[in-house]
Amino acid sequence: MSGRVVATLRRVGLSLLGPAIAVAVAMAISAVVIALIGEDPLEALEVMVDLGETPRAEVQSIVVIFNRAIPLFLSGLAVSIAFRMGLFNIGVEGQYRLATLVAAAAGAAVVLPAPLHVLFVIVVAMAVGAGWAGIAAVLKVTRGVSEVISSIMLNAIALGLAAYLVVGPFRGSAETASIVSTTPLPESAHVPPLTGLLTGLGLAEPRSELFGFLVIALVVGVLVAVLLARTRFGFDLRATGLSPSAASASGVNARTMTVKAMLLSGAVAGLVGLPQLLGSTYVYSTEFTAGLGFTGIAVALLGRNNPLGIAVAALLFAFLDRAALPLQSIDIPSSVVTIIQGTIVLSVVIANEVARRLARRSAEREAAAVTGAPPDPGSGSAPGNGPDGTQRVGATLPETTEPRA
């Protein structure tokens, strides 16, 4: 029993080691980059971890980090669901943009009591995201089109479609407005902020509101984690990801699973824009935050497709994003942050592979320790005590023909 615990601890240790090394390597590379552009890396680090001078500024920074991390978490989660079954949903970008737009427009068009209104917007967004991802899935299972290709194409279409819809039928802003947007969602569709929770904890009141969607994101994260790790559905999904051939031999219908996984991934992708939609802008506009779907791929990689890991990765990305602001005040361009993020992801991909091999080797070593040196006298690999020992006692060799010389 304790052996198992030790083995598990070692495995967990190895799985944390990868990202930790990766972050360290990325930091070192970034330090070199900062030094190369003639700035002081240590000062940069100091500025990055300095959340602010006043308690209020510190809390504000934390709020900014969380508000940024929530959509990144959802996006990473969406990508990871597909990843876990070996699908690359590069289309989260298009899925969330379209989903947010349609949900914003639909939400503004109906009158409902508060909780139902929020639920309605969420359901619409998930349905649109799932539907859009479903196109890629259906193309894959019926026509064999790679979901990578189709979802890239669907991204382009979604962007164009969203642009058309927001300028055309869903336009709610005045003709003269520079930023074209949908009609604002009524009060009943707003998700109340969690700022009260922070002040309730005795923290200073931040300037911005902490997105209430945090709670929903956490619930979604837990649900997805349980679904993947504990349910039959999750097992089928993961098995297909590990080995499609073994999964289908075990009775998993690969086509159905592809469709289900993509729908699920798309549904979660549909939520990506909602923290902002329901927590701060209340409209979808031509200026709505773009690129979250692509960043989500990096977050999923960094988080090793594990919901908890993705949460940590999203926080790290958000932390670095926030650091871009103070860095600029010491004349370090914000692109340095992009470099750090890029190198982290790259190092993580490499480190994950190294960690995977180490884990594998350590597992092999454990197994060898058991099978390699049994105290069984005389015969290491001789037949042991099977369920039917008598079969092997006094058995004779198959008599075959004699050598022909």
């Binding site: 097992f235 594998r360 015969s379």
Partner: protein
């Protein structure tokens, strides 16, 4: 049988040449945590066929990789023709006159024999491939060693035996004087084996040295001049094939007494478990891989299907498991027509499956053992409870399987990839048996597993058969097929061409049917 421990001794015959062609002294090779080879002592005389035998996993491949320069030993010396050498890569080994014929051919299908042979060491004239020179060399080699190769034939059109001769020619073309053949007979039918042995005799006659790796002891005894036995990473002794019986050799290999696949008392009952009627599977253009196959498996019956690989056995298995749609015919199981059932429904109804390629279809290598216990049974207890995977029961049941079926691993949380082939296979067999199937589709159930595990698996199959399990057995191991089956079909080009009585058939006869040299009329 010589005394184990000491190096193979042939001092008495040393007049022919002062130094052996290859000598390994105290070779030890460690991988992290594992000693793959330990104190290996090997002496191969020039001009002999020297067999190295041992179970799978005994360390033969590691040893040969050391000799071929694919990795360096941690301790010990390698001597070629009496001179100590140190290989940093296979090209060093080739330069020293050592060539390797791999078990899995490394040929480009759409290249000609000539192109394949010269690939990587092309003779050039003015920067272009000098085909004339190459053709001369190859023809010369082919004639000298009686390989019968046509330099312009496309490899795609060649049979397995010919391909192997191309591999041999490739090695000879690079001036190898010492050839390592890794399990060369594993892919051959008996007739092709005879041809190979003819070729080896030619090589020997020309003074070349052959190191022949195998675990098929009868073959080894036929072809080898001397034998070195490896067990658990070290040389345990040498044997003279003329004075050592197959059984004695096997016992040296395993270190104990041996099992047999034979089942002599029939346990066949009346009730049919599986009935295939005119099953046809459509191919992607061209010939149907399975055509008009009808057979019945009854309770307690093992129905063996023999055939050279690629004659439709894999597709037939897929058709029974519901992994491939039928284009004609029906499959019924315990009276139900299951032709249109999904794989999952079939498994739930009581069909167990030991796939041909356990890595591809039988296991999740990167997953722990208990998850592999769940695989294929994810809708049934103990693996599942409602919509959830029952981790606790699955783990407990994995521990039970490990104990009962002798799966050697640290625990249910070990990754499947860490296990040896035999232990993986025992886990698969245990898992499939644990669900209490009525029919077991077993494709190559003992392929690539060591003798010990093979015995366990045979025992399990026999016990289950006695309990009334119907088994479809597909195997390339003809002894296994003949020994286990109650009735035996031969599959050739997608059809069942002969039905034989396993009691009266020899592997040679069976080989004749498999290659189409004999037909059903002969059998009747």
């Amino acid at each position: 049988m010589a005394a184990p421990g000491g190096p193979p001794a042939h001092e008495g015959e040393g007049e022919r040449s002062a130094a052996p062609a290859v000598e390994l002294r105290g070779i030890t090779k460690r991988f992290p945590g594992v000693v793959a080879n330990r104190d290996i002592e090997l002496r191969v005389r020039r001009g002999e066929v020297h067999a190295i035998v041992g179970e799978n996993g005994a360390g033969k491949s590691t040893l040969m990789k050391t000799l071929y320069g694919e990795h360096r030993p941690d301790e010990g010396q390698i001597l070629v023709d009496g001179r100590e050498v140190s290989f940093r890569s296979p090209s060093d080994a080739i330069a020293a006159g050592i060539g390797m014929v791999h078990q899995h051919f490394m040929l480009a299908d759409y290249f000609t024999v000539l192109e394949n042979v010269v690939l990587g060491s092309e003779p050039t004239r003015g920067g272009r491939l000098d085909r004339a020179a190459a053709r001369r060399r190859i023809t010369e080699i082919s004639e000298r060693y009686n390989l019968g190769l046509d330099p312009d034939a496309l490899v795609e059109d060649l049979g397995v035996g010919d391909r192997q001769r191309v591999e041999i020619a490739k090695v000879l073309y690079r001036n190898a004087r010492i050839l390592i053949l890794d399990e060369p007979t594993a892919v051959l039918v008996p007739q092709e084996v005879d041809e190979l042995f003819g070729n080896l005799a030619e090589l020997k006659r020309e003074g070349l040295t052959v190191i022949f790796i195998s675990h098929k002891l009868d073959e080894v005894r036929r072809v080898a001049d001397s034998i070195t036995v490896i067990r658990r990473g070290t040389t345990v002794g040498s044997a003279d094939p003329r004075t050592t019986s197959t059984r004695q050799l096997a016992e040296m290999m395993v270190g104990s007494e041996l099992p047999t696949p034979e089942t002599r008392t029939s346990t066949v009952r009346e009730t049919p478990v599986l009935t295939l009627s005119s099953v046809t599977v459509a191919g992607i253009g061209g010939r149907a891989p399975v055509e008009d196959v009808s057979l019945t498996v009854r309770e307690g019956e093992v129905v063996g299907i023999a055939g050279v690989e690629g004659n439709g056995q894999a597709e037939l298995v897929d058709a029974i498991m519901g992994l491939r749609p039928l284009s004609g015919g029906t499959v019924s199981f315990l009276g139900d027509d299951i032709t249109t059932w999904s794989t999952r429904a079939r498994r739930e109804a009581g069909i167990g499956f030991i796939p041909e390629d356990r890595h591809r279809q039988g296991m999740l290598l990167e997953a722990p053992l208990w998850e592999n216990r769940v695989l294929g049974h994810q809708t049934r207890p103990p693996a599942a409870k409602g919509w959830f995977i029952d981790r606790r029961s699955a783990r407990a049941d994995t521990e039970r399987i490990m104990q009962q079926y002798d799966v050697r691993a640290p625990g249910p949380d070990t990754l499947a990839v860490a296990l040896s082939g035999g232990n993986q296979q025992k886990l698969i067999v245990g898992r499939e048996m644990s669900a209490g199937p009525r029919l077991l589709v077993a494709a190559h159930p003992t392929r690539g597993v060591d003798v010990g595990a093979q015995a366990v698996i045979w025992g399990l199959l026999k016990a289950a058969r006695r309990e009334g399990l119907g088994i479809v057995l597909i195997s390339a191991d003809l002894d296994e097929l003949i020994g286990l089956s109650d009735s035996l079909h031969v599959m050739l080009r997608g059809r069942l061409v002969a039905r034989l009585d396993p009691d009266g058939v020899t592997p040679e006869d069976l080989g004749g049917y498999m290659t189409g040299a004999r037909t059903a009329e002969d059998a009747a």
